[in-house]
Every structure is written in structure tokens, then in C-alpha cells.
């Protein structure tokens, strides 16, 4: 793993994107790493585009500004691909992780991704509907990011989702989220 990993999340208010960034940061704490998770605060309303960021490093994290050159770009809502340029500033070896039913090759063409950049898709909204009963794509996206980034193991991710969601939700919802993380990890397509 690179010594400093920077992630940019694109989502819409109400999809749990900020929570996903927080859960990922928490899971990455293991092994003594430094982590950051922070959203870009604007008018917080359901459906509005938002960004959140992670930094994960073996060294002390001192930067206190948005990530400009992410190594991973996570798009939690594919309708954002028509609204904003999610590739802005992405590293040449960045991976784009997009929640969509579409084929990764189609997404690659739309993003105009460089040959050195990876494009990965997962149908997180469908997984969420089937496991949680709501189109909350954050849990499956955590699973997909876990797999693509290699930052943590699936077991780490599952444990952290249990811990983070356990405070607020019933066992049924926690089980649904755990299943969602596992399926997000498993049902990854790359092209």
C-alpha cells in the first residue's frame, strides 16, 4: 500500500456518503495508521451533491484541506456523472468506483478515463434494496472500496459496520448492512 492514500467521495445528501467515509476511516485506524474523514460542508439537504474525503497514511496527517489529487474516486450516485466532472485532479493511476447498473466499459468511456486509471462498477443501489430494503448505497460501497483499495480486509469492514451501526439500529438492519458490505465486496465489475 502507498504510504498516503487519498479518497474523494461524490454522493447526494441522504445516501450515507459521509457515514461511509467515517466508517472507512475508523476501520483503517487498525495498524496504527493516521486517518481523516471530512465532508465538504454546504447547504445540507437531501439530494444535493456533496463531497467527502479520506486521507489514510502511515505518517502523521497534517494537511487540513480538501483532497485535490485522489487515488480513489467513489461515486455513490451515478447521476452525478452528468452533473460534475468526477475525474478532476485524479491521479494517473486512480481508480474510479461507481455505483451503477451500467457496464464498466460504458462508464470508462463516459469518464474518458486514462488507460492507466481503473474503472470499477457495482450495482450498490440494487444490493441495498435487496439487503436493507432501502436505496442506501453506502454499505455496499464500503464493501467495494474495501476490495478495490486493499486498505482493509473484508472482516475489518464488516466489524466496523457492526460497531458503527450497532449504536443506532436494530439487529435486522445491522444484519442487512453487513450482508450489503459483503455483496458490495463480491459483486465488483472492472472494465
Amino acid at each position: 500500500m502507498a504510504e498516503n492514500v487519498e479518497i474523494r467521495w461524490h454522493g447526494r445528501g441522504g445516501q450515507g456518503t459521509v457515514t461511509a467515509a467515517k466508517v472507512l476511516a475508523d476501520a483503517c485506524l487498525s495498524g496504527g495508521r493516521d486517518v481523516q474523514a471530512f465532508p465538504e460542508y454546504g447547504p445540507e439537504r437531501a439530494g444535493a451533491p456533496l463531497r467527502a474525503y479520506n486521507r489514510i497514511s502511515d505518517k502523521e496527517l497534517r494537511m487540513h484541506c480538501p483532497v485535490k489529487n485522489p487515488g480513489f474516486v467513489v461515486v455513490v450516485d451515478a447521476t452525478l456523472l452528468d452533473a460534475i466532472d468526477v475525474t478532476e485532479g485524479a491521479l494517473d493511476n486512480a481508480a474510479f468506483i461507481v455505483n451503477t447498473k451500467k457496464d464498466p466499459k460504458e462508464v470508462r468511456a463516459k469518464l474518458k478515463a486514462k488507460p492507466t486509471q481503473r474503472v470499477v462498477t457495482v450495482d450498490a443501489s440494487t444490493i441495498a434494496l435487496e439487503t436493507i430494503g432501502r436505496a442506501m448505497p453506502n454499505a455496499p460501497m464500503i464493501g467495494t472500496v474495501t476490495r478495490v483499495s486493499g486498505l482493509i480486509t473484508l472482516e475489518n469492514a464488516v466489524e466496523d459496520v457492526k460497531k458503527s451501526f450497532g449504536k443506532k439500529f436494530s439487529q435486522k438492519i445491522i444484519d442487512g448492512n453487513v450482508e450489503a458490505v459483503k455483496r458490495g465486496y463480491a459483486e465488483v465489475k472492472e472494465g
Binding site: 485506524l29 460542508y41 496527517l61 497534517r62 494537511m63 487540513h64 484541506c65
Partner: protein
């Protein structure tokens, strides 16, 4: 030693308050500090602290409740920001004038109008001359550590003054970062028992607070306050040395980063200091002798120590996250200039106003400033002393 956790700056402040276990908190919510009291009130509700919460109808009343509880003889803490501090302004002077050891966490935020909820230092600078002790924190860790130390400093028998502990609104108040707590038992032992001085509730020994003092003694009272302020740096260092023993973390009046052999330097507070340190490392790798000074204790301002730390530099840039309208330069610039004025040989100084209302402070702003300092150190030419950076043209 407790393990590393990932938490927000606001939670760090709230946890320090939980360890200190105040007798009373008078509070009124305001973004971005609301979260501090929201978390703290859950500790109250769960009986993790013995604190009596007084939820008031305004910040003026919140500080008034803190003052009343403090003169009654209790340990008192609160949190606020921006308009809240502006509204308490009158009471801030009363808290310090009555020599009350109230501790206030602040998620520093811009002032209205125009309405803006984001991080800058306008609120802290607005209370600059209120007779409080001020600390500014770079991150959640420093927020926690400063808050814990604040109780010791405020309640020190040679001091007995209110203390403000600031961190940057949203930038660090709401970001999750890695930090390490001091475990509860160690933290409680460090903060110690509260000792009341002349409490009003000691009804067998009646006292009066806030009497009228006119031309006869007011000036003597103010001089006494100034004398106490002069003792603060010594106590701050004493408490920091003790804190280092329990935490392993070392604090001074300010932080010097790669400054000893620096030819040029930046002075910048709070979260922007971290970003600047990373940029300094890249310049150092290229052989540029650049360093940083990050103020921690802002009031009383350690003029002598800071002058000594910076006087050898050829050029210094002071970055202000607030402006004094009509005062020509930013508040921190004015202070650092004062610190250096007395030296015959002193650096050429420039002032950058950055990050107002939460405008991102990006590495390129530090690079821009360092490049200008390199040029000034070389040819001594200053294009303008004060400049707004990161502004949309």
C-alpha cells in the same frame, strides 16, 4: 496510555470537559460549536458527569449563568462560537474582571454579515482584548490537550482567569482525525479537584462581587489584571511540563517547526499550520531554509519569546484568518510586528489574509507565500505589505 481513536475536534473538546467534570455548564447552541455541548449533554444525561446543565435563551445568558455559577464556587465550562461570542462580549469582560476560572471551548467561526457558518478567527479576535487567556489548536489532539490543560491554568491559584480554547470551525471541529486520549483516571488526577476562592455560597462569610469602583481604584484593579497576565506564560509552561509526563506530548507557548536555522518563516495559527508544515517539508527537501512558528498561547501574547524565535530570519510572513478593518493589518501580524519591533536587526515582514469564512487554505497558498519570502530575502523588495490570498478575482 490509551489507544488511538478517530474522532472530531468537537468530540475531543467534549471528552476533555467530561474528564474535567464541571459543576455547572451554562450553554446555548451555535454552529459549529453546537456539537460540543450536544455531546456533553449526553454525558450529563448518562450520569457520566455530575454537571448541572443550564440551558439558557441566549449566549449572553449562557455566559451570565457561567459567571453566576463560578462566583458561587463551582468549576464551570461552556462552548460557543461566532455570533454567540459576539453576544456574550459584555459578559466576557465581567468573567475576566471578576477573575473567574471559566473554561470555554470555541469552534472558531466567521462573523456575520454576510451570514457564514464556516471557520475563521474573527470571533476569537473579537474577544482578543477581553482579558481572557486564549489558546488556538491545530487539530483534535491539540484541542483535547489544550482543553484539559485549560482547567489547570484557569484554576491556578496565581492566575484565576477565564480561558478560551479554539479550534477551526468545521475544518477541525467536524473532521474525523486520529488522536489519543489521556485515560480518565490520569486525566482526572491531572486536572485535580476544584478549589473555590471566596465562593458566594459560603454564606457564613458573606462577600460582594462586582462592586462599583470608580476613579479611586479602577486603574489599580486593571494593573492587577495586567500583572496576572504576565504570570500566565510561566504557568502555561509549568502545566505543559506536567502534561508531558502523563501524555508524552510536549507543548510550549508556541510551536517552532524547522525554525532554528530558517532564513524565512511563516507565522500561522490552527489548522492551516499543519498544511503549511507539509509544504515546508517539500521546500526544505529542495534546500530552502524555511520554517514555521505556530502560536498556541495567543493571549497573553508571548512577545519576548516570539521575538527571540523569529529575529534571526530575513523575511517573515504572518498569515491572518481574520482582518481588522481600518487597522491596516491583520491582528496576528500586528502582534508579531510588536514582538520584533524592539530589535535593531529584524526581518522584513509581510501579511497575508487567508481563509476567511472557511475559504480553503490550500498548499498552493503556502507555496505562493514562501516563493515571495524567498524573493524578499534575496532582494529586499516588498510589493505590498498586506495582501488577501486565495481570493476569486
Amino acid at each position: 496510555m490509551s489507544k488511538k481513536v478517530g474522532i472530531t475536534g468537537n468530540e475531543a473538546i467534549a471528552q476533555a470537559m467530561r474528564i474535567a467534570n464541571p459543576d455547572v455548564c451554562g450553554a446555548y447552541p451555535i454552529t459549529p460549536a453546537t456539537d460540543i455541548m450536544q455531546r456533553f449533554t449526553s454525558f450529563v444525561a448518562n450520569c457520566e458527569v455530575k454537571t448541572e446543565m443550564i440551558l439558557t435563551e441566549s449566549e449572553h445568558s449562557a455566559m451570565s449563568a457561567c459567571i453566576g455559577s463560578s462566583v458561587a464556587g463551582g468549576r464551570v465550562a461552556t462552548a460557543s462560537a461566532a455570533q454567540g461570542i459576539a453576544l456574550m462580549w459584555e459578559m466576557l469582560f465581567i468573567a475576566s474582571g471578576l477573575r473567574l476560572p471559566i473554561v470555554m471551548g470555541v469552534a472558531n467561526r466567521a462573523l456575520s454579515a454576510p451570514l457564514n457558518i464556516h471557520g475563521d478567527h474573527s470571533d476569537g479576535m473579537g474577544m482578543r482584548d477581553c482579558g481572557w487567556i486564549h489558546f488556538y489548536s491545530e487539530n483534535a489532539q491539540e484541542g483535547f490537550d489544550n482543553m484539559l490543560m485549560a482547567f489547570r491554568i484557569a484554576e491556578h491559584m496565581d492566575i484565576r482567569l477565564p480561558v478560551m480554547v479554539g479550534l477551526d470551525g468545521f475544518i477541525t471541529s467536524h473532521s474525523i482525525e486520529t488522536m489519543e486520549y489521556v485515560d480518565d483516571e490520569t486525566g482526572r488526577a491531572f486536572v485535580g479537584e476544584f478549589k473555590a476562592v471566596n465562593p458566594l455560597l459560603d454564606i457564613k462569610n458573606p462577600k460582594s462581587y462586582g462592586p462599583l469602583i470608580l476613579t479611586d481604584m479602577y486603574m489599580e484593579y486593571r494593573k492587577a489584571h495586567d500583572n496576572v497576565m504576565a504570570k500566565v506564560p510561566g504557568v502555561v509552561l509549568e502545566v505543559a511540563a506536567e502534561f508531558e509526563k502523563i501524555s508524552g506530548r510536549k507543548y510550549g507557548l508556541f510551536e517552532s517547526y524547522r525554525l532554528d536555522d530558517a532564513e524565512i518563516a511563516l507565522v500561522v495559527m490552527s489548522s492551516a499550520a499543519g498544511t503549511t508544515k507539509d509544504v515546508i517539508d517539500t521546500y526544505r527537501a529542495k534546500g530552502v531554509k524555511v520554517g514555521l512558528l505556530k502560536p498556541r498561547l495567543y493571549r497573553p501574547f508571548p512577545y519576548e519569546q516570539m521575538g527571540e524565535a523569529l529575529k534571526h530570519c530575513k523575511a517573515v510572513a504572518v498569515l491572518d484568518r481574520a482582518d481588522c478593518f481600518g487597522g491596516s493589518y491583520g491582528p496576528l501580524f500586528a502582534d508579531v510586528s510588536n514582538a520584533l519591533y524592539h530589535y535593531a536587526q529584524r526581518p522584513i515582514m509581510i501579511n497575508k489574509i487567508y481563509g476567511l469564512g472557511g475559504r480553503d487554505y490550500m498548499p498552493d497558498q503556502a507555496e505562493y507565500t514562501i516563493n515571495e519570502l524567498i524573493q524578499i530575502a534575496k532582494d529586499g523588495k516588498v510589493k505590498s505589505i498586506k495582501e488577501y490570498i486565495g481570493v476569486r478575482e
